[in-house]
């Protein structure tokens, strides 16, 4: 069951730098661990995170093994216009979660 929390200010002034915080539920299994019987546990991680602001990419990140479970990604961008911020996480085993948040710029 995948769930994500995003934290975007509901309102901002034009030109203001806003902080965006995201948190997603994911085990981030490294692929380097083994079970008690010695069988390798296959890698299962989020590979890529992208944030688009009204369709334009404003932030992206590549994720790797050894990033902790439930990755928390915080970044900032400039509030340019009212609209939607879309967040997209993709990873191993077809993992794909999309979340969005509205922002009003005045």
């Amino acid at each position: 069951m995948a769930s994500a929390l995003v934290n975007v200010p509901a309102r901002a002034r034009r030109g203001e730098v806003i902080e965006i915080k995201t948190l997603i539920s994911h085990a981030m299994e490294t692929g380097y661990r083994r079970t008690q019987l010695g069988a390798p546990i296959p890698r299962d991680i989020i590979r890529r995170f992208v944030c688009t602001y009204n369709g334009t990419e404003v932030f992206s990140a590549e994720l790797h093994p050894a990033i902790a479970a439930n990755p928390f990604i915080a970044f900032s961008t400039v509030a340019t216009e009212s609209g939607t911020l879309a967040f997209h996480w993709t990873g191993d085993n077809g993992f794909s979660v999309t979340e969005s948040a509205a922002i009003v710029v005045e």
Binding site: M1, L23, N70
Partner: protein, 313 residues
């Protein structure tokens, strides 16, 4: 003892009995009975950092003869003015993580619990919300008074068990497994509604025997290390066990997100961890002994503020 002492201390050999037993936690000049305010002396903590568990065991074996002296010297219950949540022992960064709902990973479980709260389940086809309505009102303070007495079972039940009782009795659904994602999510969602409220257990003649049993467990030496909960959490809180500060063991934030676990866990998971640390055989999840201990710990933390879901290192 001579070969294993570190750092070398000339006084030690002059005090064969007490000093040997005390060295389990204290590498400096022995003081007994221990004083909780001792934590203000930073030098001690550094010395303890190098202390491996193996060395502790070695010393325990060497100290068997001195054990009888120590049992009579409890520091006793922590006065209410000196009670501190595990939160106070954490780093600034971890505290910030707990305080910010945008960064606290426990909120992921709360979010999930919120959707489970409204989902119809079981043969009765009812959701939690169908009886209890809005959890923000109906579940306020519930976590602050659990474990609470259940008349049908004739004993106290903790919050997880209460949720499962509701599932089996009212929703006619199978109980959720302990530490399963769904049970943790529901518990976190319910506990979240008590955040900021003081722990307020109702102790009466029905719950008193279970409270006493929990208290006895807390003070009973257990496991191959032959340690009681109270020896760390009443007598030596604020000092270090390996790299970690020994907290006072107030269960104010459960279920909580432990960075070491990389996930949310219940109080019983934590208690089982501690028992394994003592090299005692841990009780099964839901065991009466663990619930009694939970009851005692919540009573011991009465009046302290619920932080659920907390973050701990």
């Amino acid at each position: 003892m001579g070969a294993s002492t570190w750092p070398p201390s000339p006084q030690r050999s002059e005090r064969p009995g007490k000093a040997v037993a005390l060295d389990l936690f204290d590498m400096g000049a022995p003081t007994w009975p221990p004083n909780p305010r001792r934590s203000s002396r930073p030098g001690k903590a550094v010395a303890l950092l190098d202390y491996s568990l193996g060395r502790v065991v070695h010393r325990l074996c060497a100290a068997v003869g001195a054990v009888a002296i120590v049992t009579s010297a409890f520091a006793g219950e922590i006065p209410s003015a000196e009670r501190r949540s595990g939160y106070d022992f954490m780093s600034r960064e971890t505290r910030a993580m707990q305080d910010d709902d945008g960064a606290n990973p426990g909120l992921l479980w709360v979010l999930e619990g919120g959707s489970l709260w409204n989902r119809k389940t079981g043969a009765a086809g009812r959701a939690c919300a169908d009886c209890h309505g809005d959890a923000r009102a109906s579940m306020k303070g519930v976590a602050a008074r659990h474990p609470s007495f259940d008349a049908a079972r004739g004993r106290p039940v903790n919050l997880e068990q209460r949720i499962n009782l509701c599932r089996t009795d009212r929703q006619k659904a199978p109980p959720l497994a302990y530490e399963s994602r769904d049970l943790l999510a529901l518990t976190a969602y319910v506990a979240r509604q008590s955040r900021g409220l003081p722990i307020d257990l109702a102790i009466d003649e029905r719950t008193q025997p279970f409270l006493d049993a929990g208290r006895a467990t807390f003070h009973r030496r257990q496991g191959q290390l032959n340690l009681a909960c109270s020896q760390c959490h009443d007598d030596h809180w604020g000092r270090r066990l390996a790299g970690n500060v020994v907290p006072q063991a107030h269960p104010t934030g459960y279920p909580l997100y432990r960075l070491e676990w990389q996930g949310l866990g219940s109080l019983q998971r934590r208690l089982r961890n501690c028992l394994i640390g003592l090299r005692a055989e841990p009780h099964e999840y839901g065991a009466p002994e663990l619930v009694d201990l939970e009851l005692f710990l919540m009573w011991r933390a009465r009046g302290m503020t619920i932080e659920a879901p907390a973050v701990r290192p």
